[in-house]
């Protein structure tokens, strides 16, 4: 039969990569010296499966490499080798290498051969030293292959004495089966010896009392016969002799190494179920997920978006004819509820626990602390907090950057920590939780904190602030988000790769989120990221300018009020400023920007909506405020083109298209106009 093994490759790759992830996670959790045997067992099992699978499916390079890892793990499992940091590090690098090897096989690429060879050498070196000699030689396999004398295939007659031990039937081995196989090799004569058969009433039905003398004639090799008896080697007395020699040694059959009355040992070793493993399992089942093609999910999300639009259209019809249409109203109420539920559950399909983004950090922290000579404990909480997949994909890099920063600049080396009266091991805490319609991610460390003096002197030397300016601590901390701003005295290869906090901030802004820093010198820092749960829907404030309706993301609106004449100031080139308590806020007339005919041109007749982005505020001059509603965001770029000051569009209940204002862009616009005015 020819079976195409390739059909199983995909499954093999998937489970191997899962196995590697699990190995990595367990390796990072191992306590040096007193490692939990169940953890080592799990790691071993994963390696063992990968080895078995890769050998079966023809990936010999993977199998050979994994074999070395497996041997090392086997020694740890049996307690013949201590679990050292060195060994764990080597195993971690090996996990990476296996990922590379398997990835290359899957993509039909060339793996990094040099790395493979180096690691194999390192594994071999480690295997040579450090383990107490195994009870059973690893070369047992070799010794097991019996000495095979070169036998010529010629017509021989074999005399086989086969005396099963009484328990042999209980292994599921059947003498008849073996005789049938022997009969396939040549002419077989079977002679049964029933002399040991007890009286009928004493017969135990599951014991074997018979023995046999078999004569086999044909061109048969000794090893062909031993192979047939291979499985019962220890359960019988067996002798296989060529007939000519039998006459010379007329002796009893050679005794097998098994005792005659060997009771099958039912040495049950139920796997110990420790609390730890059980807990792990339950968290795994919580994270169990289905694989859904993202295109299908996108379509669903889109459809539900349409439904939301229909619903708001219907509810508007209802408001228009304010007759006694109770039924219509009830139906609408229901539609609204259903729509919202459907929307929520569909959105949930795209939601993934943030552990997907957090998972890479244990390894990263492990590697970086080794490199930096620091001791850090990574704590993670709220990993089950769910976040939209698209947001998740984009938040990964900023998180990595912040964690790197904390490890590199934040947490001090052990000597300094001890000197400052802190515990030697620093703590890096990643936490996620929901707050309102947003997700909050905190990255905090108990390291050195931000050095306000250094930041402000650096900011002064770069001309970001005036020589004599005195800023609050919060304002100083915000300076680190400026482009090109780094307070690291020396750039290490860990951080400072040309990506600064400004990029982090920009990326988070791009997701409609925000980032804040709170830090106390000597005590540590906390970075707090706030993100919308999803990028597809936002809570919007509808506003009117002339006959046009625009939407401002609710999150960016600080306040809205009627303008008092005496608080308006006009500076050079007609830029208007509004004095709001102790601040001067530039006024942006939306009708100017979008070239509209407004209802009001006098500031005092309309409204001012103060919006904030990036710590800057502007007052948008509008005609009127309309309702608030959730809007489904439609990209403008995909269907039209990018428009400054607009971040997208949506379809309103009456079917008209309304633009969603890009508050950051409008502020940028106001700033440019101001600079132009000053220049």
């Amino acid at each position: 039969m020819s079976i195409d093994l390739e059909q199983f490759h995909q499954t093999f790759f998937e489970e191997s990569f899962e196995g590697l992830d699990e190995m990595e996670k367990e390796l990072l959790d191992l306590d040096m010296g007193s490692a939990d045997s169940e953890s080592i067992n799990t790691i071993f099992r994963a390696a063992h499966s990968i080895k078995g699978g890769s050998a079966t499916f023809g990936f010999t390079d993977v199998a050979e490499f994994t074999h070395r890892m497996e041997t090392l793990l086997d020694e740890m499992r049996d307690g013949r080798r201590e679990v050292t940091q060195e060994a764990v590090n080597l195993l971690l690098s090996s996990v990476d290498c296996l990922r590379d090897l398997l990835g290359a096989q899957r993509e039909h690429n060339e793996p990094d051969k040099e790395n493979v060879i180096t690691l194999q050498q390192q594994l071999d070196d480690m295997l040579k030293v450090g383990s107490t000699p195994p009870a059973e030689s690893s070369h047992a396999a070799a010794s097991e292959t019996r000495k095979k004398e070169v036998e010529e295939i010629k017509e021989t007659e074999w005399l086989i004495q086969f005396h099963p031990h009484p328990h042999m039937l209980r292994t599921g081995n059947e003498p008849l089966r073996m005789f049938n196989e022997l009969a396939l090799l040549g002419d077989l004569i079977v002679k049964a010896d029933h002399s040991k058969l007890p009286a009928f009433c004493d017969i135990a039905f599951d014991e074997c009392y018979l023995s046999w003398e078999l004569t086999l004639k044909g061109s048969v090799k000794h090893e062909q016969i031993t192979e047939i008896f291979e499985w019962v080697d220890d359960d019988c007395d067996l002798s296989i002799e060529p007939v000519s020699e039998v006459e010379q040694h007329s002796q009893k059959p050679v005794k097998g190494n098994g005792e005659t009355e060997k009771v099958p040992q039912t040495e049950n070793k139920p796997v110990e179920q420790k609390g730890k493993t059980e807990r792990r399992k339950s968290s795994l089942s919580e994270a169990s997920s289905i694989r859904v093609g993202i295109d299908k999910v996108d379509e669903l999300v889109n459809l539900v978006g349409e439904l939301v639009i229909t619903q708001s259209m219907l509810s508007q019809t209802n408001e228009d004819d304010s007759g006694n249409q109770d039924k219509l109203r009830d139906g609408l109420a229901q539609l609204e509820r259903n729509t919202r539920e459907l929307q929520e559950s569909v959105m949930r399909i795209r939601m993934l626990p943030i552990s997907f983004a957090f998972n890479r950090f244990p390894r990263m922290v492990h590697d970086l602390t080794q490199k930096l000579g620091k001791k850090v404990e990574l704590k993670m909480s709220g990993e089950q907090t769910e976040l939209d997949k698209t947001v998740m994909e984009k938040i990964g890099d900023p998180l990595v950057h912040l964690v790197r920063n904390s490890l590199d600049h934040g947490i001090e080396i052990p000597e300094i920590r001890l000197k400052n009266g802190k515990p030697e091991i620093g703590v890096l805490h990643l936490n996620a939780y929901h707050q309102g319609g947003s997700i909050v991610i905190e990255i905090s460390d108990d390291g050195a904190g931000l050095n306000a003096a250094r930041i402000s002197s650096k900011a002064k030397s770069q001309g970001l602030i005036d020589e004599n300016e005195v800023l609050t601590k919060e304002k100083i901390h915000e300076l680190i988000f400026n482009p090109g701003f780094s307070t690291a005295e020396t750039l290490s290869d860990v951080s400072g790769r040309g990506v600064g906090m400004d990029v982090v901030k920009r990326n988070i802004k791009g997701l409609g989120g925000s980032i804040d820093v709170d830090s106390e010198e000597g005590k540590g820092s906390t970075f707090t990221i706030r993100l919308p749960l999803t990028l597809a829907i936002l809570d919007g404030q509808l506003i009117r300018v002339g006959n046009e309706t625009y939407i401002i993301p609710l999150i960016s609106i600080e306040e809205t009020f009627q303008v008092s004449y005496e608080l308006i100031n006009t500076i050079a080139n007609g830029t208007e400023l509004y004095r709001l308590r102790d601040e001067y806020i530039p006024i942006v007339r939306l009708h100017d920007i979008f070239n509209l005919q407004p209802e009001h041109t006098e500031l005092t007749d309309g409204l001012l909506a103060v919006v904030e982005s990036d710590g800057c505020k502007v007052g948008l001059f509008i005609d009127d405020l309309l309702g608030q509603q959730q809007v489904v965001i439609k990209g403008l770029e995909t269907n039209f083109r990018r428009v400054d000051g607009v971040s997208g569009a949506t379809i309103l209940g009456d079917g008209t298209v309304s633009l969603i204002l890009d508050v950051g862009g409008l502020i940028e616009f106001a700033r440019k106009r101001q600079t132009k005015a000053v220049a």
Partner: protein
């Protein structure tokens, strides 16, 4: 045709074993570990069991010992999938009541010829 209970925690191995046996006309019931296999074995009567050794929850050796305690499984052939280097495992398996073993890596043909040997 004989019904075979195939036990392996690796999905790809399970697929391969199951596909091969089904192509040869056997009925195949799959189980993901010893615990799963034992539960399934109690609700059916397999003619042959093929089990991996290294598995979570209940390994192959323990499974064999448990199966041999069941009247239906007292004499049936139980084969273990083992690796060349696992001599001590073979011994443990035999003590628990395994009939024989199939050495990994194996190809579909080797699997079938071994199964034919015990299928009778």
């Amino acid at each position: 045709m004989a019904t075979i209970l195939a036990v392996d925690d690796s999905a790809s191995m399970r697929q391969m074993v199951s596909f091969t046996l089904k192509s040869a006309g056997y009925n195949v019931v799959e189980a993901v570990d010893g615990v799963d296999a034992l539960a399934k074995a109690k609700t059916m009567k397999a003619n042959i069991v093929i089990t991996d050794v290294n598995m979570p929850n209940m390994d192959g050796i323990a499974l064999i010992a448990e199966l041999r305690k069941l009247p239906d499984y007292k004499f049936i052939p139980i084969l273990m999938l083992t690796t060349e280097s696992g001599t001590s495992k073979k011994q443990e398996g035999k003590s628990a009541g395994a009939t024989g073993w199939i050495v990994k890596p194996f190809n579909p043909d080797q699997l079938l010829s071994t199964v034919k040997r015990v299928a009778g």
